[in-house]
């Protein structure tokens, strides 16, 4: 309990310093975000038993473009990464996940997500966030990454290039992240792509379990990826391709190492 109080006191202080002078234009309500995190934290800690590795790689004050693999059918991985950055770092921060427009259009959920820090995934928004010194969370695999059938679990999908151009334009460091353990939330999944398209949904996964299983999660923070200073944000796709591949490779390797050290649900539950 003392740890819980300490974490949230530190977070409150950090958010007060950051947002008391200037209101966040994307609708983040720091007190609301803290209250939400207080609710999420017991699930983060005791249900998903999240461990964060190499958190010292996140330097105080630097804005980052946090780039992660995307797994687990529904974006719980994003929620856990944001919770880790808000509660586990020495200098906690609210990561700003860039989300699908589908989410921002939803009643209640859209409001809750923006008041908790989420922002519509759009280049203008991303550039403005980075300019203001915010750190953004991006899943460059998009919906293809999260909405995978069981046979494709942990197979990294191709990254889109937009995020790299924004990193080049803003000169913000890319911080690679690998999340291991989230694919096991929903171990058996089927996808109904045509029905999802008909209903204008980003994806329609059907799983045996409705509630995510208590799979232990590991979040690995990689070495910041350095982009060459001479590379322009308007460079040709071919010039960006080696960097996309290098980032994919870095996250893939982090995931594979994580999978080797993975804690299984049976170990955790002592079955």
């Amino acid at each position: 309990m003392a740890g819980f109080i300490r974490k949230f006191t530190k977070l409150e202080k950090a958010l007060k310093e950051r947002y008391s002078k200037e209101r966040d234009p994307w609708g983040l309500e720091p007190s609301r975000a803290i209250n939400d995190l207080k609710v999420i934290w017991p699930f983060y800690k005791y249900y998903f038993d999240v461990r964060i590795h190499d958190k010292d790689r996140v330097k105080e004050g630097s804005p980052y473009m946090v780039v992660s693999n995307h797994t687990g059918q529904i974006p719980i991985d994003g929620l856990l990464i944001c919770t880790a950055f808000a509660t586990e770092l020495d200098h906690p921060r609210i990561l700003r996940p860039l989300v699908e427009r589908f989410l921002t259009s939803l009643p209640f959920l859209g409001r809750w997500s923006s008041e908790s820090g989420a922002v519509l995934g759009d280049r203008v928004n991303c550039m403005n966030l980075l300019k203001r010194g915010e750190s953004v969370l991006i899943f460059p695999e998009g919906v293809k990454g999260i909405a995978k059938e069981s046979k494709d679990h942990y197979k990294l999908q191709r990254f889109t290039k937009g995020f790299l151009r924004m990193a080049l334009a803003s000169k913000v460091e890319i911080l690679p992240i690998a999340v291991v353990g989230a694919e096991e939330f929903f171990p058996y999944v089927m996808h109904f792509k045509k029905i999802a398209k008909f209903l204008s949904l980003p994806a329609l996964p059907l799983s045996l379990n409705v509630f995510p299983l208590p799979s232990p999660v590991d979040i690995y923070i990689g070495e910041p990826y350095m982009l060459p200073a001479e590379l322009s944000a308007e460079a040709l796709d071919e010039e960006l391709e080696p960097h996309i591949m290098a980032l994919e490779k870095q996250i893939e390797q982090m995931t594979q190492v994580g999978l080797l050290k993975r804690r299984t649900m049976t170990q955790r539950l002592n079955i």
Binding site: R23, G27, R111, V119, N125
Partner: protein, 312 residues
């Protein structure tokens, strides 16, 4: 010889405040104000001559012929409350009328035309980024056909502006939500409603500009701006719920779907345009960097919070 300014829509609160600021800032000025509505409560100033006219080519031509206008301030766009008449009347005034005014201004060698458009032209959509720049697509009429004359008027003015930029300076202003004790637009009336129905399921970000600041910006546009489109807003952004709290209205929290039904039901007495409901669901906020390039930072007298507090 005094300089003559034509203000179209002089009966509106914004036009009256603008006229007052113009008179205070320049002694050698004569304002000819016209409106299709009856002229009432006009400030008692010798520099203002206001008259009710029917907005047609003959009347405007007569005005331009009789006076050598230095500038024209077109503040007479019709809004969308059902009280403002049917769509045919709005199209006639907003499109045909504006086109006539632009043509005549050029024909009679007016130096500058300032047109008051609105941020509504960008539309309120769930995929709008924050801080829309002037070159963002105008998507307001995608969903609501009733907004098409607002978008078309803006587009007509900007097309005309670039085509004729060597002959006449034209400035299109797209302000955020103008609020104040005198102005009677939809957002001010909504926020001043003693029991404002607020969506419990949405809380979009808003920008507000005080009517005095907006009038000052119109005068600035006339005196300092060069041909172009300018978003007009301050730096601060406030959520709708916070705005209601600052004013101190008694909030009635309702799901937006119920608000939509309620507004439809109450339209005959409440006269609330339904498209406005999208503006209380999704953001339509403006980037003000073009404005700042000319006027620098700290352009406005009132912050959004102060403007809201003055509505109490």
């Amino acid at each position: 010889m005094s300089k003559k300014i034509l203000i179209i829509g002089i009966q509106g609160a914004m036009a009256k405040i603008t006229a007052e600021i113009l008179i205070q800032s320049r002694s050698d000025i004569q304002i000819i104000g016209v409106d299709s509505r009856p002229i009432e409560n006009m400030p008692n100033r010798p520099q203002i001559k206001a008259q009710q006219i029917k907005y047609n080519r003959t009347n405007f031509e007569k005005l331009f012929r009789e006076h050598q206008f230095e500038s024209v301030l077109h503040l007479g766009r019709l809004g969308h409350s059902p009280a403002m008449g049917n769509i045919h009347k709005r199209i006639d005034i907003n499109l045909v009328g504006t086109n006539t005014i632009l043509e005549l201004a050029q024909k009679f060698q007016t130096k500058k035309v300032v047109i008051l458009s609105t941020h509504h032209v960008y539309g309120a959509l769930p995929d709008n980024p924050m801080f829309l720049k002037e070159d963002a697509p105008l998507r307001a009429s995608f969903k609501y056909a009733e907004l098409r004359d607002v978008v078309e008027m803006d587009q007509m003015c900007t097309n005309w502006m670039w085509k004729n930029q060597n002959q006449i300076e034209t400035i299109v202003l797209r302000p955020s939500n103008i609020i104040g004790p005198q102005i009677k637009n939809n957002i001010t009336q909504y926020l001043k409603t003693p029991y404002a129905p607020l969506p419990m399921d949405y809380n979009p970000m808003f920008q507000f500009i005080h009517e005095f600041d907006m009038a000052t910006m119109i005068v600035n546009a006339m005196e300092k701006f060069t041909t172009g489109i300018y978003n007009v807003t301050g730096d601060d952004v406030i959520s709708l719920h916070e705005a209601a709290e600052i004013i101190g209205v008694k909030k009635i929290l309702v799901p937006i779907i119920a608000v939509e039904q309620l507004a439809k039901f109450l339209t005959p007495v409440w006269k609330f345009p339904l498209y406005m409901l999208d503006y209380v669901k999704f953001p339509s906020t403006l980037d003000n960097s073009e404005l700042k390039k000319i006027l620098g930072p700290d352009t406005f007298r009132f912050s959004a919070k102060e403007a809201l507090e003055l509505l109490k």
